[in-house]
Symmetry: C2
């Protein structure tokens, strides 16, 4: 199974890099371009697909595509944003399905690893896009990292309020340290060197982190 | 400053991969070959240097070099082992310079990052060797990882004996989890994606780990 593209998530992110949104009809065209691009990148790879190839596949002119995306990278960024949003959606659903902060934290660790593995590596050609996004610090990847840090902050706040977690360590220091522990398992370029430990790492690391948070 | 090759560390490791040791005279020849190879790899890279190049540089025949090393990779492994031993020597000195287990752990985190950064990345051409060693699981790299885990075990045992660390969690689970936290900072392929955090990561991560060990 590869990356599913949902219209919802595309609509949610398309205003961030490419100028103001232009209404629902334009959303549909952008969606068509992104879907065709995803299919092509999967078959031929990100590097080998040109904007001309995409234009032919959809039956649009190159100029028409450029009206919606200034470059191939802009399309790649959109696909990347969608992929990262899908991981984030999985993670939020898993976190929301638990009540207590410690269990939310365990599910965050577990789900971010399984979902990232599935989305980055089941579709090797899309991994190239995620890698470019991470190594070239595409905006979509940076915003994703910030949102995961935000989610972590929310869980820690809840745990502190409910007396599940210690309150002595400054919150920002705790978030930053836990994020460093988590980072090798959400970053595609790091994750590719951790296949051996993806089975046991989420459990062991979240247990260690929970011990570090105990009062 | 690049990688220093010490006769001591070469003598300590040369019996592990290439059959039984052959006495001090052979050690000197091996040392000469490894020194010449290191100089050549630095200038021309590991990939581009051939055993013939090395033979010319030292004034030995190719056949004579093959008497001591069965392949170029065997020479690369020797350089890698020496480089890893140098990091390990730095780390052990830092750990030994503290008395209490918590401070030993802090110094382990700090020194392994600074020493790995220095040895893997100041000499970009030697980084290629370290990368091959890590990705192809050369024996030298695997033994290094085991020795670092052993050092970690010693520190944890000491801390448990002196009532600095909790004793509820099984020792092997604690070692394994802390090693997972440390791994992105000692593995050359992972470390290259963590340059942004090498300044603050050792402090933040060792503090988190120490909180997880508190009684």
């Amino acid at each position: 199974m590869g990356v599913k593209l949902s219209t919802m998530t595309i609509a949610n992110t398309n205003h961030t890099n490419h100028g103001p949104a232009r209404g629902p009809a334009d959303h549909e065209v952008r969606d068509q371009i992104v879907s065709a691009a995803t299919a092509h990148f999967r078959l031929y790879g990100y590097e080998k697909t040109t904007v001309s190839d995409l234009a032919k596949a959809i039956g649009f002119s190159k100029a028409y595509i450029y009206k919606f995306f200034p470059s191939k990278q802009a399309i790649g960024e959109q696909i990347c944003a969608t992929c990262l949003l899908e991981i984030e959606t999985d993670v939020r659903a898993a976190v929301d399905s638990a009540d207590a902060a410690p269990e939310k934290l365990r599910r965050l660790f577990k789900t971010i690893v399984t979902s990232s593995m599935r989305l980055f590596f089941q579709d090797r050609k899309l991994f190239d896009i995620a890698s470019s996004a991470a190594s070239e610090r595409w905006d979509a990847a940076q915003r994703y990292e910030l949102r995961i840090q935000g989610l972590l902050t929310d869980i820690l706040r809840l745990g502190r309020e409910n007396d599940d977690f210690e309150r002595k360590t400054p919150l920002d220091e705790t978030v930053s340290a836990i994020y460093l522990v988590l980072r090798p398992y959400l970053h595609p370029l790091l994750l590719q060197y951790s296949f051996d430990s993806v089975e046991h790492a989420p459990t062991q690391l979240s247990s260690l982190v929970l011990r570090s948070l105990s009062r």
